[in-house]
């Protein structure tokens, strides 16, 4: 090694490598983050991504949920065109399409009515608070799932934060510390990842922009299935007897986002909207 270091061509090579690394670091933001090709994507005959291909599997033959996912954009475009950012209807109304609607307890129905009439001005996300685990599936930001056999992590650009799903067989806590995201444990039932969560804050978590509440009595079950390469379907069951008269289930879709990366959304950078919200 000592001899090799002293050779001029080795030194030149090393200088070239350092220069190349610096040039790469200095590449424009968009090139750095947004254009990196997602590896391993199945292709159609014409070279386009085949998002209907079967879902990939991990080394232990479980469905592999890894990847960057975005919520469904099932809003209809307005009559004058579609230049805007279409979102998930369930982001606005978690009970969208739910037969009979959300079974609110009377106090919860009154609260949602009041919040709706106020245009959802007090939505905690407006003040840069977390959206909770349900809105991870509907908020128009990207999430990255990192899957290991004993732990699944969901990185969210929305809050520049994480969610952990423990896969090591531990039970849910009996007397959990209330948090925004709660405590989640998961297991596989065939090709479906079943996640049970409890330990939510009693206030501050809205399921949607209407203001459907969640309380500390809530237990949330998510049945997550990667239907094919490009789509992930989650059946979310809310069991919260304090806020709702019966458990109810909403089905949400998320789609794989190719050739992109998570981009920080630090809400507190310049949140001057609050002063204008009425």
């Amino acid at each position: 090694m000592k001899i090799a270091r002293s050779l001029p061509w080795i030194r030149r090579l090393r200088r070239c490598a350092v220069l190349a690394a610096l040039l790469l670091l200095a590449a424009p933001l968009a090139a750095q983050w947004l254009d990196y090709p997602t590896p391993g994507v199945p292709k159609n005959a014409d070279g386009t991504p085949n998002l209907n291909a079967p879902a990939p599997r991990t080394a232990d033959r479980k469905p592999d949920l890894s990847g960057i996912w975005r919520p469904e954009r099932n809003q209809k475009c307005p009559p004058d065109g579609c230049p805007d950012n279409q979102m998930s209807e369930q982001f606005l109304d978690f009970g969208f399409g739910l037969r009979g609607g959300i079974p609110y307890q009377p106090w919860a129905a009154a609260l949602v009515k009041e919040r709706s009439e106020q245009n959802g001005k007090d939505d905690p996300t407006s003040n840069c608070f977390p959206g909770g685990i349900v809105r991870l599936h509907t908020y128009p930001a990207f999430n990255k799932i990192v899957q290991t056999p004993r732990l699944i992590v969901i990185l969210s650009e929305r809050e520049v934060t994480y969610r952990q799903i423990f896969m090591d067989g531990r039970p849910l806590p009996v007397d959990p510390l209330p948090t925004w995201k709660g405590y989640s444990v998961g297991h596989w039932e065939g090709d479906t990842l079943v996640v049970e969560s409890n330990g939510f804050r009693n206030e501050g978590i809205w399921l949607d922009r209407k203001g459907s509440p969640l309380t500390d009595a809530a237990r949330i079950t998510e049945r997550i299935r990667r239907v094919n390469y490009g789509r992930m379907e989650t059946q979310v069951t809310i069991n919260d007897s304090k806020a709702y008269t019966a458990p109810f289930t909403v089905t949400l879709n998320e789609y794989l986002a190719l050739d992109t990366e998570l981009l920080d959304f630090v809400c507190l950078e310049n949140n001057t909207d609050a002063a204008h919200i009425k």
């Binding site: 805007d84 950012n85 939505d123 996300t125 407006s126 920080d264 959304f265 310049n270 001057t272 909207d273």
Partner: protein
């Protein structure tokens, strides 16, 4: 009292059938008035590539020659970059036209729905739109 310039701006556009919209970070209707569409043209004075919203400011001159600085909000940084924006598209000194909606509180603030750049390109401000049934 609403100034002549403001009134002109408010009435500048025809009725847009789209009457409700939101942005993801907060409710659109809590901050902006969908019944007050406006078109403003002016010179960019400042651009802030920040979250939760990208903001820019333009000097707008009314018919009497009075210059007012208006603030515009767009979507989040990540959303705009994914919609084709780059951080160099807007710079102080650029002439732009903005189609958007005025703030409910009457301040010189508006949501930028469509930004027409000085080279004529029309860029979406990334407003997340609600398409109500009405």
């Amino acid at each position: 009292m609403m100034s002549v310039a403001r009134r002109a701006l408010v009435t500048a556009l025809g009725v847009i059938l789209w009457t409700g919209s939101i942005v993801a970070h907060h409710s659109f209707a809590a901050e902006y008035d969908a019944k007050k569409p406006a078109t403003l043209t002016g010179t960019v004075t400042r651009v802030e590539w920040t979250n939760p919203h990208v903001r820019f400011y333009i000097d707008v001159k009314d018919q009497a020659g009075v210059v007012t600085n208006w603030e515009f909000t767009m979507g989040a940084v990540n959303g705009l970059l994914r919609r084709g924006w780059t951080m160099k598209m807007l710079a102080p000194g650029d002439s732009v036209r903005v189609d958007g909606y005025l703030a409910r509180d009457g301040s010189h603030l508006a949501n930028a729905r469509i930004v027409t750049l000085s080279d004529g390109r029309k860029m979406s401000g990334g407003t997340a739109a609600d398409a109500p049934s009405n």
